[in-house]
């Protein structure tokens, strides 16, 4: 009982110490503020919609009323107003990456359409730009078909569709990408800071010899770790909550139906996991340059493959399996559920559980490493 009280006591005071240290580090404070304001804003604002300002060129060999109509229909915001190019310039423009799409309207196209000869249009797609290639092709096909149909209807009747498909998007009716991008940016920053701050703080204490000093006092490695985790957790929690309320909801005007409290609790739990990973890495690396490299190796997959950038459905099973061992994956899915779908604890509890379990595992691993390496730590 006395032990538990002392643990709480020490953890609390060591954590307070971390706050004082951070308050003295202006560069770090600036970076934290920057990350959760300017960076989140820029990221959300720059992020294009699924099909946004796609560059398209047209080769109009028909020069007819219909071809003009089709070209006029390819408009912003989905497309940059089309540029006219010559047939011989298609390859050069696409090679240089100037155009993602090139639509070639053959000679006598209008005449052939009206005559019911179903002439062929050619659409060249730069398939190396995969995301735009897929959605853009669909858009262009629809637009072209609609225009042709409307044009032909003035001359003769065409068949109507027997069934209509009405699609609606839930939770984000206009499928605004910036909503998603803003939340993704916050999650990425939480991951980055959670890992870097604690891991680097541990290595710094080791490089400056203060950890050895702590260890001759009635303080256990467990308390040292826990104090770093909770204090950095609180800092990042405050920064991310501010960012969500002020920057994302306020400035960016994102509609977030979910519970901020539930998200805050999830963030705290996730920070515990991220910070534990950070401390674990801090016990593996022997100096700051090693830690720097390791953090890139860890952060990159966490940011790219956790489902925050591309859908997890598209990843191979192996990657998906590996990534489900990281807390980030569960936190991303939890955050999407809570923030966008307004899911409650009764829905997201499995993710909560996973984040907590993974966090505890890493905390235990880090604790074990810290205790066993302490004797050999020499600057």
């Amino acid at each position: 009982m006395a032990t538990r009280k002392r643990t709480l006591h020490n953890t609390w005071h060591l954590g307070i110490k971390e706050f004082h240290s951070l308050l003295g580090d202006w560069t770090m404070l600036f970076l934290i503020v920057f990350m959760f304001t300017v960076s989140v804003y820029a990221d959300a604002r720059a992020k294009p919609e699924s099909l946004h300002r796609a560059s398209i060129a047209v080769v109009d060999e028909d020069q007819s009323q219909l071809s003009t109509r089709i070209i006029a229909a390819l408009q912003p915001p989905q497309f940059i107003p089309p540029v006219h190019v010559a047939l011989s310039d298609i390859d050069r423009g696409m090679d240089a990456g100037l155009h993602t799409f090139v639509l070639d309207i053959p000679p006598n196209f209008q005449r052939d359409v009206l005559a019911g000869r179903a002439p062929a249009l050619q659409l060249n797609v730069d398939a190396t730009r995969q995301s735009q290639a897929q959605t853009g092709t669909g858009y262009i096909q629809n637009i072209v078909n609609d225009e042709i149909r409307a044009f032909v209807q003035r001359y003769r009747s065409t068949a109507v569709q027997p069934v209509q498909l009405i699609e609606r998007a839930m939770f984000n009716p206009n499928l605004t990408e910036s909503w998603f991008a803003a939340v993704t940016a916050i999650i990425n920053n939480i991951t980055l800071l959670g890992i870097l701050l604690t891991g680097a703080a541990l290595i710094r204490e080791r490089e400056h010899g203060t950890i050895e000093h702590l260890l001759v006092m009635p303080v256990t490695p467990f308390e040292i770790m826990l104090s770093k985790v909770w204090s950095m957790g609180v800092v990042v929690l405050i920064a991310s909550s501010f960012s969500l309320q002020i920057v994302v909801k306020g400035v960016l005007g994102v509609v977030v139906p979910g519970s901020a409290v539930l998200f805050g609790a999830a963030t705290l739990l996730y920070l515990f996991a991220a910070a534990s990973i950070g401390v674990f890495m801090g016990t593996l690396a022997r100096n700051m340059p090693q830690f720097g490299l390791m953090s890139i190796l860890v952060l990159l997959p966490l940011q790219i493959l956790s489902g925050a950038l591309t859908p997890r459905e598209s990843m191979p099973d192996v990657v998906r399996g590996l990534m489900s061992l990281t807390p980030t994956t569960h936190f991303v899915s939890l955050a999407q559920g809570v923030l966008f779908r307004g899911a409650g604890i009764e829905v997201v509890w499995p993710e909560f559980l996973m984040v907590a379990a993974i966090g505890t595992l890493f905390f235990a691993l880090a604790h074990h490493r810290l205790r066993s390496t302490i004797g050999t730590m020499q600057n």
Binding site: D95, Q122, T158, P162, T176, G292, L300, P301, R341
Partner: protein, 933 residues
Amino acid sequence: MTSTGGTMRTDPGQDRVAGGNTRPPVVRLAELTHRYGDVLAADGVTLDIPTGRMVGFIGPDGVGKSTWLGLIAGARQIQHGTVEVLGGDMASARHRGAVCPRIAYMPQGLGKNLYPTLSVFENIDFFGRLFGQSRAERDERIADLLASTGLADFADRPANKLSGGMKQKLGLCCALIHDPDLLILDEPTTGVDPLSRRQFWELIGRIRLRRPGMSVLVATAYMEEAEQYDWLVAVDAGRVLATGTPAGLRGQTGTDTLEEAFLALLPPERRGDHEALTIPPLTAGEVVIEARDLQMRFGDFVAVDDVNLQVRRGEIFGFLGSNGCGKSTTMKMLTGLLPPTRGEARLLGEVLDARNIDTRRRVGYMSQAFSLYGELSVRRNLQLHARLFELSQAEGDARIAELARRFDLEPVMDALPDALPLGIRQRLQLAVAVLHRPDVLILDEPTSGVDPVARDHFWALIVDLSRKDGVTIFITTHFMNEAQRCDRISLMHAGRILASDAPAALMAQRGADSLEDAFVGYLAEASGVQLLPPDASAAASDDTAAAPAPHPAPPARAARFSLARLFSFSMREATELRRDPFRLTLALLGTVILMLVMGYGISTDVEDLSYAVLDLDRSTASESYTLNIAGSRYFLEKPPLESHADIDRRMRAGELAMAIEIPPGFGRDLARGARPEIGVWLDGAMPMRAEVARGYVMGVHAQTLTEAVTASTGKRPAALADIAVRYRYNPDMRSLIAMVPAVIPMLLVFIPSMLTALGVVREKELGSILNVYTTPVTKLEFLLGKQLPYIGLSMLNCVLMFVLAITLFDVPFKGSLAAFFLGALIYVTATTGLGLLMSTLTNSQVAAMAGTSIGTLLPAIQFSGMLDPVSSLEGAGAVLGQIYPTTHFLTISRGTFAKALDFGDLGASFLPLLVAIPVLTVASALLLKKQAR
């Protein structure tokens, strides 16, 4: 220091500034003022320093000695006044460039300007290269220096594995490689054991015999060493108190020792209540610390062997020995920090257990380096420790107030420890160590680098604790006058205790006049060193003087830009990288792993989207419609939905990406041609996935209708026009072909920039940046030299990834190899440059790392066209995307991989990359300082 006595050329008649010297002074200071915040390190100093002498700067800590030496060496920027060195103004960069090959500077701190992972030979070799010496010349000089310093046997040992004395000798070798005319040594023997100290001064004496014209400036805390110098400058509070020969200063004040002379020179208010320390006799109690057959092994290396000792309550027990002999390891075992390999350590009769928190309460420990929090104020440091030792608020405050008074910390309670002189910092450490009233105090070199006055003050506190409070004290020191004050001392060498007794008894055993002689005798005997008898040293020096041929004088003016200097930095950086195989492995293997994970992982082919159907019709028509969707490879059907509430619930849970609702009467309406409506609900939480799903479902829908018409009418409905889609460069729309050429540019920005990001800031934190300040190397040579090895490593990474791409990933490469690799070379030059820029911008390694992560991850992933083409971005992101190097190399990579392009087609992408290099490098060079402030 009797051994060097013969080499000194003191002139008792010459008392005042350079009186009898016909040569112009080597250094002239005029009206020199330098301040750090409120502290004046130089207060209108005007001083001429004679040429060809051994000049000592003596005075307490924090009075400005180091600052003066830094200013004279050109390592610090002059604030006010003039500094003339070797006949020119040090404020002029031109003059600094011209004279720095003639100056050598050894900063304070053991091995401060050495490179810890480099070997002895490599360290000296590096400095030789910096001064533009040829291979043959370097080899000859290094052999000569190693032989004369006795380091020849350790040429291959890394600098961080050397003892303190050896580190200082190596520092001296590095300083002497270019035959300087002015040698500046800042406390060179602080923290060095007496034997090594004696050897060090012998070495200096021999070198001065060989180069009689060389001037030597030394700051020192050892008055007995200063006694041997030619000329002294007594310094206090940024001002010159007096100058003259040691004898002159003693004569002037009418004192017997220099230490007393210095105290007499101090103004009365600075002298304080200094008086000779008296130690009351000891009434020893029971055994408090006991070590039995202690042994500590690290792998094969036996750091401590067979240590037996007993210390009684209230005793002051001195622990002496050279650096690296196992003292600190022994102390760690006695505190319980380190469990011994064999034997046992007992505290108050109980075996020490590192896990036992209660024993820690009885021990106060003060480690060699300052180990409190530099970023917390003195008061907060004390408060933190009071809390950790569970003193109540009131109790803690009272204790802190008491200690502040007793340890004279009251005026500095709200200052940051980093800003305080060493002596005060050590008092603070002691205050922290005794805060919880421990029974035992373990102090590891608490007075190293502390000036005599502060040391006496410190010892008064220790004696007080021992005699009044009955605290048992276990202390290590290199100062013999301190060892003399201990009740008993142990001499340790190479992990073993040589002798253990009262100081007087040890002197009697060796038949020595002083404890120092006794100690040196024991050490020399144990290590087999042949010490020169004092009288013979001059003769021996003459021998060495005759041997080597004099070296040609270095060129008067260093070249403006030298490839040799640039390469010397490259070679050093490459060697350091080789010595850190873990980092090298991370850099190479990490790339491979990331490439695999990302190449396979990032994919925009969305498949297996989960969906469910709410079929309110349940007719054959509705079933055949849903069967079509179920047959698509893009969708994965989940159990059917029950109701609208069910849609809400399962969509909210993220279980479904799409829900399809077929209205009641669908089949009937379809048959009647009433155009029934099918509702599709998409999960918009992830817009990109929703868009893809929408595209798929519309396609399936259209196909279903066509098939239905075909089935009912027997012919396909006539289309108005046919849109032939040609997916170019990647006809099968394979994700890998699109992603792999994009992953290479990604990884070539993250890893290379992180490799260089700590390059400069780490040297700033660890101190070796001083070599950039005081050697002829230019900022550009330094930066480019550091960058080169990492460009090489990054290109290796690039080749590795390229091979992986075409073999494992089977991505065809269609374009120009030369264009790809040249592009990669330019690109990694830019990205390593980006890391260096971050490194020069920041002041701590943590900030450099965080800055680099933010500065690369966001722009490269989001704004460089990996997923969304740059042309579709808006705002700040679009601007950044246009200029960010990754954008352009991404175009080159995709162009050469998939589009079969060559230089001609990619010119527009090479140009911005080429521009980025000089922009980044010039920015770094402008931000990098060539002097400290």
